[in-house]
Each structure stands twice: as structure tokens, then as C-alpha cells.
């Protein structure tokens, strides 16, 4: 009565629930990418010249690059000329002024996704920016945030309204030269969120962006920039879903975080892009560059991610720990099933004295999926007394899946302490038997044990989203007790 592969498969293999398509007229540019497309995107957004210049530099640089192949990922070549780089739901010329002007079909879409945009129905304490294909369609609680001095708006709006902030910070953490997908994103990004928390402000609510790919044959290239000025604090969450389609769709986002002295940014992701079907047909290719810069002393950046979707995940949310006493954290749960592949992890770059980092990675691999943790901990000679602790655990479910661990540690300061531990195993038969002896069905027992395995990460999620994440794992979770 060891773990029966059938039951385990049922556990991880819950039907994708966000696979519907919204039937809405869209303004979509034809597939293909050249300088004219870059100019077109920029002009559709009404961008200032500096923005267009930057995009073009990025595009020209991208053309000199080749797609990276070092990750443990296999996919057919991506035809970058076969993708549409811009798609927006049809709407009035200047965009909706308020929710009343937003197409009801769009509101209904987000309703169905569990993200009501009307403030009276919205999750209390969470402001949402809803990005549909290439554009932001609504941002809630803007007024309340404005009162606190917090800027939370679509990226394209920020380019128009706060060009000096964008010019000052854009590309300073992830330069357009950083890597292939970052260069592509820099050239063609269409929207995303911008957050600025002024000095000393504790953001009064959770900020959240919900990304939705709807159109076929489009790529989504959003860009998020969060700046936390001295002594400020913000917690931000992103969620993402897409319809079920037989073709693969490309998602190549860039997220830049900047934390000044004594500032703290908590960035959580629940990634549930369409993973493809059980035969590996369809699904999102998710190539994402996320990096946080702890620029100031005593600053802190914490990444929490629950990666459940996407056919391919290539993602390494990282921290540059420049400031003295700065803190970087990475908490990750990644689940891969069927033919999903994920190569994910983090980089902690210790530059500042006494900088500290913690990495907790929990991987669950099932079906025929392949999953890798890839991480780098680098201690510069300047990082006196730096500390890192890394824990990577993998759980295997089924004989045809794989779990791999590739941690790199490069240490150049003799007062640093770097510790790494990793384990890989399947659910122990005696744990399963113990739960079943107490009357739990095998499926419930597996759910419970898997959930326990991920607990260290789930408890880092904002309360409102912990439940969503747990449900996403199809694990019925601990109640109010505990």
C-alpha cells in the first residue's frame, strides 16, 4: 500500500480552473518584431522620447543575443516573429476613467477569477491593478493610497505622470543588457505596475497586480518597478492566469525592486499560468527576470513564490545585498506535474557588511515533470560577517519525474558563514500509514503531508493569499486552529 501513483496523480492533477477565454474585441498588432513594432508600442502608449530611445537600444542589443540554454529545460525553438507583441481589449481612446467605463466583460472576467474589482466587493485591505493582455484595465483603491502618498498605477500611466521617477529608476536593477529575455522585455514591454512608497510611509494596504493573458498568439511582457524610499514598507502580490490553449504562449516579465535605507519590500507571487495539458500540449513559457536591490542600509527584500503553473518556468528572483545589514529572503514552493518543467531558484549577492540571506525552497515533482533548483550565493570580499542559510527540499511523486539541485556558493570573505542543506525523497510510507491508521484517506493523507512539507513557505505569504496558494496545491489545509 505504498503511494499509489494513480491516487497521487489525481492529487496533483486537478483540472486547471482558469482556462476560459473572454470573448472581447481586441486591438492586436500582427505577429512579428522589428523596430517599427517597438515604435508602435511606444506611440500607442504615448511615451516620452527617452522611453522610446531606451526601448530601441534594448531591441538592438537583443538582436545580438542568443537564447540562453544553460537551464535544464527543453522546448522547441520559439519563433519570435510568430508572436504578437501588443494586444489590448478595445476601449475608448483615453482608457476608462473609472470602473463604470470598464467593459463589463472584463469586470466579469476578473470576478470569475476571484478578483472582484469593485471596491465594495473587493478584498478588504488589498488594492488591485488588473492587467489584461498588454494593458492595465483598472486599479482599485487609488484614492485611499494617494492619501498616504503611495503611487500605485499602471506602468504606462507612470511613464506619462511620473517620467522623472521612471527615468531615474528603470533598468537600474535589471539593465536591458542583463539577459536575453530582459532585453526583449525592455524593448516591447507593454504594461505592468509601478509602485512608489515615499519616505517613512508604511503602505496602508496590500498591493496586488493580477495578470491575465487572454488573446491567442500574443506574448505578455509586463514590467514592474517598486521603489521603497527610506524607512518605508510595502507588501505586494502578483497573481497570474491564462486560458487553456493548444499553442504555447510566451511570458517574459521583468520585476525590479529598490529598497533604500531601512525600507522593506515583501514581494509574493502565486503563479498559475496555464501549464499545458497532461500530454504537454500548450501552456505558458514563463521566462522571468526578477531582482531586488537592497541599496540602503538595514533594507530588506523578501521574495515568496508559489509556482504551480506554466509549461516552462525559468525564474530566479534575486537580491543584491548592497546595503550594510541588508536582508534578502527567498521562500519558494514549486509544483510541477505532467510534462511541466521548472528551473527556478535565486541569487543572493552579498556586497554589504553584515548582510544576511535565507533561502527556503520546496519542490514537488510529479508525473513526468522535471524540476531544478538553481541558486547562487556569492559573498564579495567587502561582505564582512555575511551570513546565508539555504534549505532545499524536493519531494518526488512517481517514478518518471525528476528533481535536481544545483546550488553555487562563491565565498570571498573569511568572516562569512554560508550553509546549504538539501534533501530529496518521496513521501515516507510510514507517514502515510500513520495518517491512514488515524482514518484519513490516502489522498487526504498525501495532501496533508505535502502541505506540511510546504508550510515554511506558505506562512510567509500574506494571509489573504495563503489560502489561495494552498488550494492551488489542492491541499486542504489547516483550519483556524494552530
Amino acid at each position: 500500500m505504498s503511494t499509489k501513483s494513480k491516487e497521487v496523480t489525481e492529487l496533483v492533477e486537478k483540472k486547471y480552473q482558469h482556462g476560459f477565454v473572454t470573448d472581447i474585441e481586441a486591438d492586436t498588432v500582427p505577429p512579428g518584431l522589428d523596430e517599427d513594432v517597438v515604435r508602435l508600442i511606444s506611440s500607442k502608449k504615448g511615451e516620452p522620447q527617452f522611453m522610446l530611445d531606451w526601448r530601441l537600444k534594448a531591441f538592438r542589443h537583443w538582436q545580438t543575443l542568443r537564447e540562453p540554454n544553460w537551464a535544464k529545460l527543453h522546448h522547441p525553438p520559439i519563433d519570435y516573429q510568430d508572436i504578437s507583441y501588443y494586444s489590448a481589449p478595445g476601449q475608448k481612446k483615453d482608457g476608462p476613467k473609472s470602473l463604470d467605463e470598464v467593459d463589463p466583460k472584463l469586470l466579469e472576467t476578473y470576478e470569475k477569477l476571484g478578483i472582484p474589482l469593485h471596491e465594495r466587493a473587493a478584498l478588504a485591505g488589498v488594492a488591485v491593478d488588473a492587467v489584461f493582455d498588454s494593458v492595465s484595465i483598472a486599479t482599485t483603491f487609488k484614492d485611499k493610497l494617494a492619501k498616504a502618498g503611495v503611487i500605485f498605477c499602471p506602468f504606462s500611466e507612470a511613464v506619462r505622470d511620473y517620467p522623472e521617477l521612471i527615468e531615474k529608476y528603470l533598468g537600474t536593477v535589471v539593465p536591458y543588457r542583463d539577459n536575453y529575455f530582459a532585453a526583449l522585455n525592455s524593448a516591447v514591454f507593454s504594461d505592468g505596475s509601478f509602485v512608489y512608497i515615499p519616505e517613512g510611509v508604511r503602505c496602508p494596504m496590500e498591493l496586488s497586480t493580477y495578470f491575465r493573458i487572454n488573446e491567442a498568439n500574443t506574448g505578455q511582457f509586463e514590467r514592474t518597478l517598486i521603489v521603497a524610499a527610506e524607512g518605508s514598507h510595502v507588501s505586494y502580490l502578483e497573481g497570474c492566469t491564462a486560458p487553456m490553449r493548444d499553442e504555447n504562449q510566451l511570458h517574459a516579465a521583468v520585476v525590479e525592486l529598490i529598497a533604500m535605507d531601512d525600507a522593506e519590500i515583501k514581494y509574493s507571487t502565486v503563479q498559475n499560468w496555464y501549464p499545458g495539458d497532461e500530454n504537454g500540449k500548450g501552456g505558458i513559457y514563463n521566462f522571468v527576470t526578477k531582482r531586488g536591490d537592497c541599496r540602503g542600509k538595514n533594507s530588506k527584500i523578501s521574495w515568496t513564490q508559489v509556482e504551480a503553473g506554466s509549461a516552462i518556468t525559468w525564474k530566479y528572483p534575486s537580491c543584491i545585498l548592497r546595503g550594510e545589514n541588508s536582508v534578502g529572503e527567498f521562500y519558494s514552493v514549486a509544483v510541477t506535474n505532467n510534462l511541466q518543467q521548472a528551473d527556478t531558484g535565486t541569487k543572493m549577492i552579498h556586497i554589504g557588511r553584515n548582510s544576511r540571506s535565507t533561502i527556503v525552497s520546496k519542490g514537488i515533482s510529479a508525473g513526468r515533470a522535471q524540476q531544478s533548483y538553481r541558486g547562487l550565493v556569492k559573498i564579495f570580499p567587502s561582505a564582512e560577517s555575511a551570513r546565508n542559510y539555504t534549505q532545499c527540499d524536493s519531494l518526488l511523486m512517481g517514478k518518471d519525474c525528476g528533481a535536481h539541485t544545483f546550488p553555487y556558493m562563491e565565498i570571498k570573505n573569511p568572516s562569512a558563514i554560508v550553509e546549504h542543506e538539501a534533501t530529496t525523497s518521496k513521501i515516507a510510507d510510514d507517514q502515510l500509514f500513520y495518517c491512514r491508521q488515524r482514518g484519513l484517506s490516502e489522498e487526504d493523507a498525501v495532501n496533508m503531508i505535502v502541505n506540511g512539507f510546504c508550510k515554511e513557505v506558505f506562512r510567509e505569504l500574506p494571509m489573504e493569499f495563503a489560502v489561495e496558494a494552498q488550494n492551488l496545491l489542492n491541499v486542504s489545509l489547516e483550519g483556524a486552529v494552530g
Binding site: L396, E410, E419
Partner: protein, 425 residues
């Protein structure tokens, strides 16, 4: 890197009976040339000094010395002496019931087919190591065969010495341990001058065999040292490996252990000291290819002065290798602000009924222990050296021969005393 010069040197050599193996080796080598930093396996080590010295030294065939200092059976081992990669002439090769030892350069003709087939079955991994180049330029080597049910009490101790000549030693050692047999093998590298060693040792253990294998590397600080050990373990066979890397300015060691049949088990203990200007790169790849195979690896590294220590330990569990139990631990001490440690433990797992774990830590000496010793009147440098020796002791005590254990302890003490005087963190 230009390999045309080497190819010409190779073509100009007189052919010998090893020619088929040399040809394959040269073809494999030319296919990729010397490894470069783009290769993941050479991420932290620049092979250029190895390439330069290979090009310079391989032009001349090393001469075998007639040495007056032929080893005599010292009582605790069966010694065999190589000088500059060639078997020193005039020595009696060890003889014992069930044991056969032959030099590669003078292999009896009835053995040659067997040796060639063994050379052909180990293609090396071009770009990952220099074993193909070794095959192309084998300087000499040994064929050692232990018949089934043979217990060899004394270890075979192969002394690889370099006398300061500008010689490229390219020894190839091929060992077969028969079923239910037991043996101990020691590879002991030492010497003076700016030598170059590119050694390959290939050992097969048949079912239920027992092997103890020590590699002791005490080359001079001007030498370059590259070595590959390939180990294949049959059903229920067990091997215990100890690797001590203390010498060379650039040392690169690759261990590939294949647990090829059910019940096979390997223990690996390793230690390196990268001090002065030394660059030490140690790699392990443990392949669990069959069900119920087990392994345990414990590797310690010390970097001091301007030394750089690199460890890469990979455990691979192949599909179907259920019941695998594998544990790897890597601990490092980083003792100076100009030294560096790079470590990469890896797991690659394609079966589900497994228990695999690895851990790696890098840090410094325990301040409390240091303070304790100093409060007892031990000066700081000495206290530090004591604690580093204690850190190394877990590995050093695994050395199977008392004489060599003492030699290593003496060497470590002398080196650490010097390192601790000059380094203040």
C-alpha cells in the same frame, strides 16, 4: 586554443602497440580541445596553464631514469615506482598469488588485446576532463589484475615521482578486482620542480569485491596536476576512497564512481588544502545506476593565503535506481581575506524511491574554541593551526596506512603553522 602543434607532435611519435587507443584519444581530444570556462565543469578553473604546459612538455618523450633509489618492499606496502610518468627500470613488480602486474609499455603480448579493450571501453569525457589527452599520450602505466577470491593483505603503493625535468607524465593505471577479492591501492604523487601530471586510473570491481583506495597528492608547488579516477562497482561490492590533495599550484581531480549493480556501496573521504597561491579543484560524480546502491561522501576543504579551493560533488540517481541512499557533506574553512572557496554540491534525481541529501558549509574557526585555547596559554597562530588540524583530522584518520597518515599530519602541521603565521583574517 590551438591544438595543431600538439597534433603534429603526436603524429611524429613512433607508433607502439597502444596506437589504437592513442588514435581514439587524439581524435576525441581534437574534437573539443582543451576545456574552457564555458564548460560548466571548468567554470572555476582556467585550463590555460595546463594547455600551455602540455604543449611545451609533450614535445619530448619523458626519459625513464635509472634510479638508484628503487623502492624496496618496506614492510607495509608493495611499492612500484614511476619517475616522470614512466616505470623506473630495473624494478621487480610485486608478485603474490592471484595478483598480476604488468607495465603498459612492456605489456606481454597475450595481455594486449584485453588492455586495449579496457582502454576503448573508457572513452573519457572530452571537454569535461583531460582523459582523452592522456590516452593519446600515455607515457606508461600498469595493468593490475586480482583473481577472484584473492585477499591481498598489503596495499599496492604506486609512487609517482617527478625529478624536476620538464616532463609530461601521462600515466594510465588499469585495475581489475576479481569477485570476492580484497585489495588496497595507493596512488602517491610527489616530486620537485615544475612538472606536469595528467593521470588516469580506471578500476573495475567485480561482485562482492572490497577495495580501499588512497590518492595522496603531495606534488611540488610549481607543478600542475590533473587526475581522473574512474571506478565501476559490481553487485554488492564496496569501495572506500580517501583523497588527500595537498600539493601543486594547480590541481584538478575528477572522481567518477559508477554504482553499476545492486548492492554496490562507496564511501568517499576527501581533503584539500589550498594555500600560498594554490588552486585546487576537486570534483566527484557519484552515479547510482542500479537499485539499492548506497554512497556516502565527506569532503573537506581549507583555503588560506591566496589559495582558491573548489568543490563540486554531484549525486546522480538514474531511472530505476530505487532504494538509493546517498549522502554528501562538504565542509570548508576559509582562513584568509585573499582566499576563496567555491562549492557546488548537486543532486540529479530521476527515480522516486530514494533518500538523497547533501550539505555544504563554508565558514571559519569556532571563536569560542579559539578563545578557550588562548585562555589556556596557546598563542593565537598555534591555536588556529590546532583547530584547522582538528578539522582535517576527520579525513586524515581515514588514511589506511599509519606511515602515510603520519606523513600527511606532518605536512599539514608544517604548512598550517606557516599559513597561520602569515594570515590574519
Amino acid at each position: 586554443m590551438n591544438t595543431a602543434g600538439l597534433e603534429k607532435v603526436w603524429r611524429d611519435r613512433p607508433a607502439d602497440w597502444l596506437q589504437p587507443a592513442r588514435e581514439k584519444g587524439m581524435a576525441d581530444f581534437l574534437d573539443t580541445g582543451f576545456p574552457d570556462r564555458r564548460s560548466e565543469a571548468w567554470k572555476y578553473t582556467d585550463a590555460e596553464p595546463l594547455a600551455d604546459r602540455s604543449q611545451a612538455y609533450l614535445k619530448t618523450t619523458p626519459v625513464a631514469l635509472d634510479s638508484a633509489q628503487l623502492p624496496t618492499e618496506s614492510g607495509d606496502s608493495l611499492p612500484i615506482l614511476f619517475v616522470n610518468g614512466r616505470l623506473a627500470p630495473g624494478q621487480m613488480l610485486p608478485a603474490a598469488p592471484g595478483l598480476q602486474v604488468a607495465s603498459l609499455n612492456e605489456a606481454p603480448s597475450e595481455r594486449q588485446a584485453q588492455i586495449l579493450s579496457r582502454l576503448a571501453s573508457f572513452p573519457g569525457r572530452p571537454r569535461e576532463d583531460l582523459s582523452a589527452l592522456n590516452a593519446a599520450f600515455i607515457s606508461d602505466g600498469l595493468w593490475i589484475e586480482l583473481a577472484p577470491d584473492t585477499v591481498l593483505e598489503k596495499p599496492i603503493e604506486i609512487l609517482f615521482s617527478s625529478d624536476g625535468a620538464q616532463a609530461a607524465a601521462q600515466p594510465r593505471i588499469i585495475v581489475s578486482v576479481g569477485a570476492d577479492s580484497q585489495c588496497k591501492l595507493i596512488e602517491h604523487y610527489s616530486g620537485s620542480g615544475a612538472g606536469l601530471v595528467n593521470a588516469v586510473t580506471d578500476i573495475h570491481c567485480d561482485h562482492d569485491a572490497r577495495l580501499e583506495w588512497l590518492k595522496l597528492q603531495l606534488e611540488s608547488t610549481d607543478s600542475l596536476h590533473v587526475a581522473l579516477q574512474n571506478l565501476s562497482l559490481g553487485r554488492n561490492s564496496r569501495a572506500r576512497l580517501v583523497q588527500i590533495e595537498l600539493g601543486s599550484q594547480l590541481s584538478r581531480n575528477d572522481l567518477q564512481a559508477n554504482l553499476a549493480a545492486p548492492g554496490a556501496h562507496v564511501d568517499v573521504y576527501g581533503l584539500f588544502l589550498a594555500d600560498g597561491q594554490a588552486h585546487m579543484d576537486s570534483r566527484l560524480e557519484i552515479q547510482h545506476q542500479a537499485p539499492n546502491t548506497t554512497s556516502q561522501e565527506s569532503y573537506r576543504g581549507i583555503a588560506a593565503g591566496q589559495g582558491r579551493g573548489i568543490f563540486n560533488g554531484k549525486i546522480i540517481v538514474q531511472p530505476g535506481a530505487d532504494g538509493t541512499d546517498a549522502k554528501l557533506s562538504n565542509r570548508n574553512l576559509l582562513l584568509s581575506s585573499t582566499a576563496e572557496i567555491d562549492t557546488k554540491p548537486e543532486l540529479e534525481i530521476y527515480a522516486d524511491d530514494v533518500k538523497c541529501a547533501h550539505g555544504a558549509t563554508t565558514g571559519q574557526l569556532d571563536e569560542t574554541a579559539l578563545f578557550y585555547l588562548r585562555s589556556r596559554g596557546v598563542d593565537a597562530a598555534q591555536a588556529r593551526a590546532m583547530l584547522v588540524r582538528a578539522f582535517a583530522a576527520d579525513i586524515v584518520t581515514q588514511i589506511p596506512l599509519e606511515r602515510l597518515r603520519q606523513q600527511v599530519e606532518t605536512e599539514l602541521s608544517a604548512r598550517l603553522a606557516r599559513d597561520m603565521e602569515t594570515d590574519t583574517p
